[in-house]
Point group: C2
Chain length 184, copies 2
Amino acid sequence: MDSEVARDRALDAAEKLFYGRGIHSVGMDDIRSTSGLSLKRLYQLFPAKEQLVEAYLERRDVAWRQRLAAHVDRCTDPRERILSVFDWLRLWFLEPDFRGCAWINSYGELGATSPRVLAQVRAHKQAFRAYVAGLVADAELPEPLGGQLYLLAEGAMVTAGIEGSAEPAVQAGLAAGLLLEAYR
Amino acid sequence: MDSEVARDRALDAAEKLFYGRGIHSVGMDDIRSTSGLSLKRLYQLFPAKEQLVEAYLERRDVAWRQRLAAHVDRCTDPRERILSVFDWLRLWFLEPDFRGCAWINSYGELGATSPRVLAQVRAHKQAFRAYVAGLVADAELPEPLGGQLYLLAEGAMVTAGIEGSAEPAVQAGLAAGLLLEAYR
DNA sequence: CCTCGGGGAGAACCGGCGTTCTCTACCGTA
DNA sequence: TACGGTAGAGAACGCCGGTTCTCCCCGAGG
C-alpha cells in the first residue's frame, strides 16, 4: 500500500478516535484496529504517539480553517462575511459527531504537560483570531471588534460542546450583529 | 488527626495538582506526598480517585461562585454589577497559578469518558449562566442579553487560559458594555 | 527453485499507576 | 507489663498501554 494512503488512514483513525473520545483514552491498538494498519506500519509513519497527535491536530487545523473560509467566501458583503462565521459555527455544531473544539479539548488534556501541543493550540487560535480580524478590517470596522467577535465565537464553541447544542451559535451571532451596529 | 482536617488536606492537594497539571497526569502518590496523608487514609476518605476528582470539582464550584458573588456584591447599581463580573474575571486571570477554567479543562480531559464529571461540568456552567441571567433580570434588561454575556465570559476564560493573559477579560468587558448600551 | 527483504499479526516487554496488603510503631488500657 | 486496635510507610499486585520483538508469509529477483 502506498505510504500516502497509509498515512491518510492513520490520520483518519486518529482524528475520529482522538476527537471523539479524547487523546489519552485512545490506545495505539485502537488506532491500529480502526485504521487497519499494523502496529509496525503505524510506528514507521509516526515513531511515537505524540507525533501522531501532532499530525492529527495539524491536519485538522488546515481542514477546519479551509471549511470556514469556504463558507465565508460564499458572501461578498463585508458585514455578511463576518456574520457568516457564526452561521458556519452553527452548521459545525449540528454535525452528529460534534464534541466541542478539538484544540480547546486538547488544551484541557495536554496543555499542562505537552509544550508542543500547547504551541499548536495557540497557533490555531491565533490563526482563527487573525482571520476574524481580517474580516473586520475588510469591513473597515475598528480593530477592537475583532477580538470581541473572537471571544464570542470561542464562548459559543465551548458552550456548544459542553451542552451539546447548536443554540450558542445563534446567540453569539445575535450578539455579533449588535456589536456591528454599535460600531457602525 | 481529625477527619475533617484530613479531608481538607486531601482536597487542597487535589485542587492544586489536578488544576495545575491536569487530572490524569497526577497519580495518587502525588496526592499523598503533597497532602502528607498516607495512602491508607486517602482511600478511607475517598474510595477511588474518581471520587476525589468529583469532590475537588464540587468544592471548587462552591468556592468559585462564592468568590464571584462576593465581588459582584461590592456594587449595588444593577449595571455595574453586571460589568463587575468581567472585572472579577480579570482579577482571577491575573492569579499566578491561573490555568484556565477547571471545568472546561475537565471537560476536555474527561467529558467523553466520565458521565459524572460531564454532569458536574454542565451543572457548574448552568449555575454560572443562571447567575448572569439573574444579574440581567435585576437590571431589567431583556433576557437574551444573559446568554450573550455568558458566552463572552466563557470565551474570555478559554482564551485567557490558552494565551496566559488577562487581556480577554478587558475585551469581553468592553463588549459587554456595548451590549448593555445596545439593549438600553 | 532458492533466497532474501519487507510487511502483517500479535505476543512480549516494560514502565506507570490505581489499589491493596504487610509490617511495624505507637498509644490507651487492664 | 501484656495487649488490642489504629495509623503510617512503603512494598506488592494487577492491569493498562506504548513500544519492540518474533515469527511467518509472500513476492521479487537471480
